[in-house]
């Protein structure tokens, strides 16, 4: 094994059981076999078992930062646990060189009645630090958490954000060669998240090699040099971050096509209703970035009500809610008079990058905000064009050119050579 290779997975497989009762039975059976010196059933899939990881192989070298992405249940977290040694693989093997640390479950082991300071000792000990190591880093940990003034208060009075800060600060001050991270930066406020990202970059510069499970593409492209895209326990793609993100979004789109029918509907008041919501189809069946999108909404008012307000929220699987569509903003009023009507929304040149987006509909009374109904409509699927140059979520149709400094107020206000002074 090359001395730069820190992690090597060779055909790693791990199986789980879908049902609790059968899982109990299999666990008992396997244990009985092990007690008499036998082997548990590793190769064969028994009824209700499935491969959560199936033939996963990769190598990771010092200086790389690996991102693991994929839809829920695709095996990322299981892979991380196998790497962490929590359970051994059922097939294949994993070789790790160097100390392994986990930024996983950052608040683990906190006792609500103990103070922040006392909990630092506990959670530090769980992560393998002894008293001396914790005390040596105490100042740093406290400073990093940014919650000095609450440190001698029982943590049951902490806000969830403060708990994350404290937990992260302790876990982040370990010094492993290989650092496993599982969605830890999904919480906390933005400022703290950026602080953590910057801190991780520092650790990478100091020789730490992170493996990172996330659904946040922004953090992924900020930190990672390489991604593995998982789907159903296998590695679908191994390589460049941007390409990996595109593959991941294709996987989500694929899942989105299958999930077309999983619409949810909550009715609060039958007097007014959204009868249907339809994304007008394109000739070749898929909308692409930059296409015009037309959405039709059927409204049915059964009894007279006050003026209505309609809102369609566009949700991205990776970024949450990203936009709303509202007729009222365009000056289109919806009266509460009984009848059936159809509204049309037109989004010219849609800036969304490939992926599956959810359309969530809310119909409410305009003045009282009393809801009539909520609906998760069909997905808005954006397909990939050939070129995949844009990243993240949107394309802003940016146009660039060289310009004359005299056009620019910043330059006009200064003497010659002002361009060098741009901070």
């Amino acid at each position: 094994m090359n001395s730069d290779v820190l992690v090597r997975a060779e055909g790693v497989g791990k199986k789980f059981c879908r049902t609790l009762k059968r899982g109990m039975y299999y666990a008992g059976l396997d244990l009985a076999r092990m007690m008499v010196g036998g082997e548990p059933e590793r190769e064969r899939l028994r009824k209700d078992e499935f491969w959560a990881l199936d033939g996963v192989s990769f190598e990771l070298r010092r200086g790389e930062c690996l991102g693991l992405i994929g839809p829920n249940g695709s095996g990322k977290t299981t892979m991380l646990r196998v790497l962490n040694g929590i359970f051994p693989p059922d097939r294949g093997r994993v070789v790790l060189r160097g100390a392994v640390g986990g930024l996983i479950q950052v608040g683990a082991g906190f006792h609500p009645k103990l103070t922040g300071r006392e909990n630092i000792y506990i959670t530090g000990a769980i992560r393998g630090m002894d008293r001396r190591q914790i005390e040596a880093r105490m100042e740093e940990i406290i400073a990093f958490s940014g919650i000095e003034e609450f440190l001698d208060m029982p943590v049951q009075f902490y806000s969830s954000g403060m708990l994350v800060r404290l937990g992260y600060s302790v876990a982040a001050h370990m010094e492993p060669d290989i650092l496993l991270l599982d969605e830890v930066l999904a919480v906390g406020d933005v400022a703290f998240r950026y602080k953590c990202l910057a801190h991780l970059r520092q650790k990478m510069a100091a020789g730490c090699t992170p493996i990172f499970v996330t659904h946040n593409m922004e953090q992924l492209s900020f930190l990672c040099t390489r991604v593995l895209v998982f789907s159903r326990g296998r590695i679908l793609f191994d390589g460049d971050v941007d390409e990996g993100i595109a593959v991941y979004q294709d996987v989500l789109t694929e899942g989105g096509r299958k999930g077309q029918r999983e619409a949810g509907r909550i009715e609060y008041d039958p007097r007014a209703d959204v009868a249907f919501l339809e994304v007008a189809s394109h000739p070749d069946g898929l909308i692409r970035t930059g296409d015009d999108v037309v959405i039709h909404v059927g409204l049915e008012v059964r009894e007279p009500v006050g003026p209505l307000a309609l809102r369609i929220t566009v949700e991205s699987p990776v970024a949450g809610n990203i936009a709303t569509l509202e007729p009222l903003r365009a000056g289109v009023e919806i009266s509460g008079a009984p009848g059936r009507r159809v509204l049309e929304a037109r989004i010219p040149s849609i800036p969304l990058l490939p992926g599956a987006y959810a359309l969530k509909v809310l119909l409410q009374e305009r003045d009282s905000l009393k809801p009539f109904m909520r609906l998760v409509g069909p997905r808005l699927l954006i397909g990939a064009r050939d070129e995949r140059r844009a990243r993240f979520l949107l394309t802003l149709r940016d146009q660039w050119r060289w310009c004359d400094p005299t056009e620019v107020s910043w330059c006009r206000d200064r003497a010659d050579g002002a361009l060098e002074a741009i901070p």
């Binding site: 359970f87 082991g109 006392e118």
Partner: protein
């Protein structure tokens, strides 16, 4: 393949290789790993114990007094029973002291056993997410019971002083080694941890275990000579004392209290060896089973 592996092993960084059942394949060497893990986690055990202990008593007014209450209540009930209900029997030391000692020892065993059994369940999600020696959860959970034992022994000491101060008819030569006698209860620790580790695994596989065990333990008071009443030399009651390791250990220590020596040292020795064996077997079983059951948390 193996050549490159040796190259990896020869470098200074620790190398870990995880293969299916790698711990099983270590054979006898697993014991080295187990004791190394135990030594490595001494700090963690102390912290986990301290967390439980402080957490339990921080928000109380009477604090440690609560540690002694269950024993006092049970002893009070035993004294009433003996006076008014049970057939007469003799104890080598005044009955109230006898029952107090027996109950203290029994409760130490039964609560340690239950703590050890429940230690994995009570640790929540971290057990399947963070890598640390899981035994430390079990050992730490016993710490609470050890401390409670100390408090109860202290209460026992107060009781003995009270007996001598207020009862002229006490016929009991207290051995000079009385302060060392509690050490004779040590096998109970090993027995409880060993059994607890085995049951912790079963509890993970089937929740039923958690419902049955407390019932059995409650019943245990009545079939463990030395707790409420001494063992009987008559057949078949004799069997209770001979087959029950807890009884053999408690009665041995009661002999020490009464006479300063054991009347049946061979029984005590056998039960002590048995307890140590259960401890080692239980611990090994725990290690063997853990990788297979951790996915169930």
């Amino acid at each position: 393949m193996s050549g490159s592996l040796e190259a990896a092993l020869s470098s200074t960084r620790p190398v870990r290789i995880y293969t299916p059942g790698w711990e099983q394949k270590l054979g006898v060497r697993i014991w080295g790993l187990m004791f190394a893990d135990l030594w490595r986690s001494r700090d963690l055990i102390w912290r986990l114990f301290w967390k439980q202990w402080v957490g339990q008593y921080r928000q109380t007014w009477l604090g440690y007094f609560w540690a002694v209450v269950p024993t006092l209540v049970a002893v009070f009930a035993f004294v009433l029973l003996r006076r008014h209900v049970l057939p007469k029997f003799q104890t080598p030391i005044p009955y109230v002291a006898y029952a107090m000692w027996g109950m203290t020892a029994w409760q130490f065993f039964s609560s340690s056993f239950q703590s050890a059994m429940n230690a994995l369940q009570e640790s929540g999600h971290m057990i399947s997410r963070i890598q640390f020696p899981r035994e430390s959860l079990v050992f730490a959970s016993i710490g609470k019971n050890l401390f409670t034992l100390l408090l109860r022994l202290f209460a026992f000491g107060l009781l003995v002083i009270w007996l001598y101060a207020h009862r002229a008819d006490v016929q009991w030569d207290i051995p000079r080694s009385i302060l060392l006698i509690p050490l004779s209860l040590a096998p109970l620790f090993f027995l409880a941890v060993g059994m607890g580790m085995v049951m912790a695994v079963f509890l993970t596989i089937a929740g039923d275990v958690g419902n049955v065990t407390p019932m059995i333990l409650q019943f245990g008071v009545f079939v463990t000579p030395g707790v409420m009443f001494p063992s009987s030399p008559r057949w078949p009651y004799q069997l209770l004392g001979l087959l029950n390791p807890v009884s053999g250990i408690i009665e041995g220590s009661q002999d020490l209290l009464a006479y300063g020596r054991m009347t049946q040292p061979e029984v005590y020795a056998a039960m002590t060896l048995f307890s140590l064996l259960i401890f080692l077997v239980g611990w090994r079983f725990f290690r063997l089973a853990l990788p297979r059951i951790l996915e169930r948390f």
